[in-house]
Structure formats: structure tokens, C-alpha cells
């Protein structure tokens, strides 16, 4: 009997040697005279175990990891094709605690399918959402998304259905669907996992967005740092066109839809939706004044839906199972599930898709297993480079848009970066200002000039120069940046700085104090 062996083709798995592992497995199987079917799947998102190899047995898939090419002969000797025992064995994959305690909706297929096999995709629930949508009135599709409570996963958390309603109501034609695949936040990789591992779910979501709002063309604005995603998306698009899912008649209906991938050029600010549109138009990525909203006047001045990859990838299951099913997960005004990405100095770094409401401590300790270095957790940055740094005292906060916002934290794109006790928080604060200076689009002064002044002030404080005065100036500067910047880059870059000052004053050589507002 041919045994199915799965090795991920996700870029992170490749970055730690998955190709060499797969080649070694093929060679060893040949030597052993054993015919195997070697499938290159997406990743489960358990990256500390990559390259993670799964073998399909009578009782389900069993996993081994991390498997280097050198480990392969030993695994064959241990009979791993039959699920044999070995120090790298993790037993039945679905039962592994990291996975078993998740609620995977958007990432339901992660690790299960060959990303480019449309047959695999359909066998695992793919295209059901689009089929159902095409049988409904476009306005009903919009209302289904409104009912799901889905909020944009790109960072701002704006209700997706409401945005679609605006675009659907705009009379001008043509309209566009633009996917924000710029994923610039450090500590995040869920967009990358979708595009490399389950490209059809994004493309299905785009077509649904197009149908609901009256757009028949889409652009995916992909950051240039993701060459693997580019290759997968282009191949997936070609397949959908060849199978009549994309093109003049989507799945045999009167609705026409097609899309194209455009590659960014290494500018963080092009993740901001209006800068992204400028960039797509072939210009410098300068932030636009709003209004007009992109939903009314977006790409090339036309009504445009701009959505994040994960937002759109969550749409097919909402259409398939209904908005109410999705809204059943979550808490308060944060409905559904959030793909959380554990990163930085954490033992079990990976993707955790959970309903809103799970606490940071649960995520870092129960899922993440504490730090990779084994030292105590000292600081945690949630929501990307513009998110506040939290200390131990704030880890019991639930992951929820409103709860985090009370502490100048943010859900953002769901990235959590963990630091151990060797971190120098004054250096982290300095970096936050430096990053803002490097990536500022230059349109407004508080951000363009303020970020450089901020870095200099922090350097002076750390050197012990006129500390009280420079500290006061830094606080005043942060206030100006927060209140007078055009977009969130300049407006929120002070958050990591102010939180570092509040919770870790000693790192700046300032007197330690009990922070005033701690839960």
C-alpha cells in the first residue's frame, strides 16, 4: 500500500530545511523499496517543530518533528512509515494540545491540504461559500458579512460588512477589490500562511467581495519580502481561470471576476490603505487625506474595497456556514476567531486561532510554553511595531479590541512578540522611533521630523544628559506626534515608547515607580 507522507512547503518550514528533509525521505523510501506518496502541504503553524513531517496511518495522521535530513534514516529504522515510536514522535497530530485547544475556522485546512490542489480545496469545504453567495442577492451577501460581526484583521478593526455596504452603495463603475497583503508588522505571518498554504480561500473571498459590492477586478498588493507567496498566488490564479472559477463567468454565473498580483517595494507605510493605493497607481506611497474614503474614491479614483488577507480569507466560511455561526465565537464587540501569531523569544512559536477573549498569559504560557531561552518573560509587544509594550502585570488582559485599547495596546494583526529579561527596553523604545523615521512617508512634520528628534532624545536620556529636561521634552514630543500626525504610523509610534517609559523606567536610568494604571 502506498503510504502518504506530508512535508510542508511553507516558507518558514523551508527556511529550516524542509526541502532537504523531503528529499531525504524520498531517497530513504526508495532505498527501502517502499513506495510513498510524498505530498508538500501547508504548515500546521507549529513552527518550533518544523520541518514537521506527518504520516497517514490507519488511525489518522501522526507527526514527527523537528525532522532534519540527518534524522531521516533513524526514523525509517524506527518504522515511522507505520507510525513507529521515536524521540521526535508526537503521536496523533489532531490530539496535540497546541492544536486540540484551538478553534480553527479561517485556518481549517492548515497543514491538511496541498495548497495548489483545487480538488483538495473542494474536498475540504472550498468554494461552498462562493457557490452559496452566487445564489443570493449581492445585498444579502453583504448583510451576511455584517451579521458575522467580522472586523478587519489588518489592524484597524473596522467592521468588514459595513465597509462593503458603502462600496456596494457607491454608484460609480468600475469598482475594485484590493487585498492588503503588505503584512509589515513584526511578529505576524498569518497572511503569509494563507497565501502560501491556502491561496484559494483568499481568492474565493475576493470573488465574494467582488460579487457583493459590484466589483469585477481585484488587485493583491503583496510585499516583496514574500516571493513564495507570489509564486503560489500566480499559480492558483491560473488554475482558477482554467477551471472557470475566475473569468467571464464565475462558476457558470453571469458574474465576471479576475485579479492580479502586484508586488510592493519594501515600504512599511504601504500597508496603510491609502498609501497602498498610491503605490498601486505607481506613485510614492504617500498617505492620502481622508475623506474621501477609499470605499467612495479609492484606486484610480473609483470605489474600492480594501481588506486584509485574513479578513477576506474569513469570508468563505461565513458565507458557507452563515454569519450567525461565526458570530457565536468571541466576546463583546469582538466576534469570531482571531489567528494569533506567537513570535519572538517563545518556546512554542506558532499560529493559534482562538475565539476572542483568551488572555495574553494563556497564550504565552499555555500555548507558547514560556520563553525559548528559558528565562523569565519581561516584556510583550502586542499588535506590531506600533503596539505598546506590556509587562507581567498586564498579561491577564483578554485579547479583545476594546480591552487592549484601554491600555494603548492593540489587537492589530494579532502578533505577539515575547522578550525575556535580557531585553533593554530603552533600546526598544529608541528602535520604535528609529523605525518610524525610516518608514515615515514624509507627508507630515510630527512624524517625519519628530521620529528623529524622539530617537535623539531617548539617546540623550540613556546617556544621562540633562535627564529631567529631555524626559519632559520626550513626553511633549510624543503628545504632539499622537495628536497631530495624519496616520497611525506617526500617531502610534509613541505608544511603545511611552509604555516602555511607564513600565520599565529603570532601563532609561529613570527612577522606578509603581505605574498608575495597571489592572
Amino acid at each position: 500500500m502506498t503510504i502518504k507522507v506530508c512535508v510542508p512547503r511553507d516558507a518558514a518550514a523551508l527556511s529550516v530545511g524542509a526541502d532537504a528533509t523531503a528529499a531525504a525521505i524520498a531517497t530513504a523510501a526508495q532505498l527501502a523499496g517502499q513506495t510513498i506518496q510524498l505530498v508538500r502541504t501547508s504548515s500546521r503553524g507549529m513552527f518550533w517543530l518544523e520541518p514537521f513531517v506527518e504520516v497517514e496511518t490507519a488511525s489518522g495522521r501522526v507527526g514527527y518533528g523537528p525532522v532534519t535530513a540527518e534524522d531521516v534514516p533513524g526514523l525509517f529504522a524506527a518504522g515511522f512509515l507505520q507510525g513507529g515510536a521515536h524521540p521526535l514522535a508526537h503521536g496523533k497530530v489532531e490530539a496535540m494540545p497546541f492544536l486540540a485547544r484551538q478553534e480553527r475556522l479561517t485556518f481549517a485546512r492548515a497543514g491538511l491540504t496541498d495548497p495548489l490542489s483545487l480538488a483538495d480545496y473542494e474536498a475540504h469545504g472550498g468554494l461552498r461559500g462562493l457557490r452559496r453567495a452566487l445564489g443570493m442577492a449581492p445585498t444579502a451577501v453583504v448583510e451576511e458579512v455584517v451579521a458575522s460581526g467580522l472586523r478587519g484583521r489588518g489592524g484597524a478593526g473596522f467592521p468588514t460588512g459595513i465597509k462593503w455596504r458603502t462600496v456596494a452603495g457607491a454608484p460609480a463603475q468600475p469598482k475594485y477589490v484590493v487585498v492588503n497583503a503588505d503584512e509589515g508588522d513584526s511578529g505576524t505571518y498569518s497572511d503569509r500562511m494563507v497565501m502560501e498554504g491556502d491561496p484559494y480561500v483568499l481568492l474565493e473571498g475576493m470573488a465574494i467581495a467582488g460579487y457583493a459590492t459590484g466589483a469585477s477586478f481585484g488587485y493583491i498588493y503583496l510585499r516583496s519580502e514574500y516571493p513564495h507567496a507570489l509564486a503560489v498566488l500566480n499559480e492558483a490564479l491560473a488554475t482558477l481561470r482554467a477551471r472557470g472559477v475566475y473569468g467571464r463567468s464565475v462558476l457558470g454565473s453571469d458574474f465576471a471576476f479576475d485579479a492580479e498580483v502586484r508586488v510592493g517595494a519594501g515600504a512599511y507605510i504601504c500597508g496603510e490603505e491609502t498609501a497602498l493605493l498610491e503605490s498601486l497607481e505607481g506613485k510614492r506611497g504617500m498617505v492620502r487625506f481622508k475623506p474621501p474614503l477609499p470605499a467612495i474614491k479609492g484606486l484610480f479614483g473609483q470605489p474600492t474595497v480594501v481588506n486584509n488577507v485574513v479578513s477576506l480569507a474569513s469570508v468563505p466560511i461565513i458565507l458557507d456556514r452563515g454569519g450567525a455561526h461565526y458570530a457565536d465565537f468571541g466576546m463583546g464587540r469582538s466576534r469570531g476567531t482571531l489567528p494569533i501569531q506567537l513570535a519572538g523569544n517563545v518556546k512554542r512559536a506558532g499560529l493559534v486561532e482562538k475565539a476572542f477573549g483568551v488572555t495574553l498569559r494563556q497564550l504565552i504560557e499555555d500555548y507558547g510554553g514560556g520563553t525559548r531561552s528559558g528565562r523569565p518573560v519581561r516584556a510583550v509587544q502586542v499588535g506590531g511595531p506600533l503596539g505598546a509594550y506590556f509587562d507581567q502585570r498586564l498579561l491577564d488582559l483578554p485579547l479583545d479590541y476594546e480591552a487592549l485599547a484601554q491600555h494603548k495596546g492593540m489587537v492589530g494583526h494579532g502578533g505577539i512578540v515575547v522578550f525575556d529579561d535580557t531585553v533593554d527596553m530603552a533600546e526598544q523604545a529608541r528602535y520604535a522611533m528609529e523605525f518610524c523615521a525610516v518608514e515615515s512617508c514624509g507627508k507630515c512634520t510630527p512624524c517625519r521630523i519628530g521620529s528623529t528628534r524622539g530617537r535623539e532624545l531617548i539617546e540623550k536620556i540613556v546617556r544621562g544628559e540633562d535627564v529631567a529636561r529631555n524626559h519632559r521634552q520626550l513626553l511633549a514630543l510624543c503628545d504632539v506626534m499622537e495628536n497631530a500626525s495624519l496616520c497611525a504610523l506617526g500617531g502610534m509610534a509613541p505608544w511603545p515608547v511611552l509604555s516602555a517609559l511607564q513600565y520599565f523606567p529603570g532601563d532609561f536610568g529613570l527612577p522606578e515607580k509603581e505605574p498608575a494604571h495597571v489592572v
Binding site: V16, G184, R262, A265, S279, R284, A343, F419, Y431
Partner: protein
């Protein structure tokens, strides 16, 4: 904002002959393919850089003319984006992630190690012309930090010793 001037000071008005020659036919072929597409400037610049290794300053005029934009606009776009370079890089390009997740896993030490080994700073090319090192802000490999990209290939959990092996390989390339 990238602080990168394409043109030497005071030379903004000069025409083609002042710039070093470059492969105009390759650029023309790329322009032909993209000429009528909306928002074509970034794809054009990417393709030129892929074909020639950088965007030759002399090509700015040729590109501008083909897509009916001013030279200033094209120059402005090239200078805005971190990806575009206006002089040839080393034979290999190593991008070392500088962002937070990699910082939490030793990227500062890794960067210092790369700079020491190559004898040049971020943004520079080693004396032998073998390797250019550049900063990059997140490669989406934050679960396997620290991460680097060597000539388009992604590497994760990179220790200084692993980086030495990668660099040795890169330097052996012709």
C-alpha cells in the same frame, strides 16, 4: 523615507550621455510589455532591477518617456522605496531582519557578527564585492527568528555559525 539620491548633486538636468551606459534594449522590452497597463511603474522598476541588478540612473529618462510621466516623478518613486537601488550590489545580497521578533532572538548580535565578518556596515558591500548586507524589517518568519534572506532564499533560527556557513557559500560563488 529612504534617504537616497539617484542623481549626483547639481546634475538633475543633464541628459543620457552623462550617465554610464546600460542595456537600453532590455529596458525597452520591459517597457513594451507594461506600457498600457494601469499603475505600471513599480512592476517596470522591479523587472528592470531583476534584469540588470539595479535601476541605472540613465534609464530614468527612458522609462519616464515611455509611460508619459516626468523624470522627477520616476526619480521620486525610485528614491521612495527601499527595494530599488541605483548602483550595482555585491554578487550576493544578504538581508538581515532588524525587526522586533528577531531582536528578541539575537538579531542585534547576528547583525554585528555579519558586519564584523564582512568588514562592512549594513547598507554596504564587502571589499571583495562578494556580499552586500542590507537591513530588512520582518520577513514573516518571526516564528523561526532570527531570520535572513540570502539571494531570495529564506533562512530561519540563524546562529552566527550558521550565518558563517551561508556566507562562505555565497563568497565561493563566481
Amino acid at each position: 523615507m529612504k534617504n537616497d539620491s539617484v542623481l549626483p548633486r547639481g546634475q538633475g538636468r543633464r541628459r543620457g550621455p552623462e550617465f554610464p551606459p546600460y542595456d537600453t534594449a532590455t529596458v525597452a522590452a520591459i517597457l513594451d510589455r507594461w506600457r498600457d497597463q494601469p499603475g505600471n511603474l513599480l512592476p517596470i522598476l522591479h523587472e528592470v532591477q531583476q534584469a540588470l541588478g539595479f535601476v541605472p540612473p540613465g534609464a530614468v529618462g527612458q522609462i519616464a518617456k515611455a509611460i508619459s510621466r516626468s523624470r522627477a516623478e520616476v526619480h521620486g518613486v525610485i528614491s521612495f522605496y527601499h527595494d530599488f537601488r541605483t548602483s550595482p550590489p555585491g554578487r550576493a545580497v544578504l538581508k538581515v531582519c532588524q525587526a522586533e521578533s528577531c531582536q528578541a532572538c539575537g538579531s542585534r548580535e547576528l547583525t554585528a557578527h555579519a558586519e564584523r565578518t564582512l568588514g562592512c556596515k549594513l547598507g554596504e558591500t564587502s571589499r571583495d564585492g562578494a556580499v552586500t548586507i542590507e537591513p530588512v524589517y520582518c520577513l514573516g518568519n518571526c516564528a523561526c527568528s532570527p531570520a535572513v534572506l540570502l539571494d531570495g532564499a529564506l533562512h530561519g533560527r540563524v546562529t552566527p555559525a550558521a550565518l558563517d556557513r551561508l556566507l562562505a557559500q555565497a563568497r565561493r560563488q563566481p
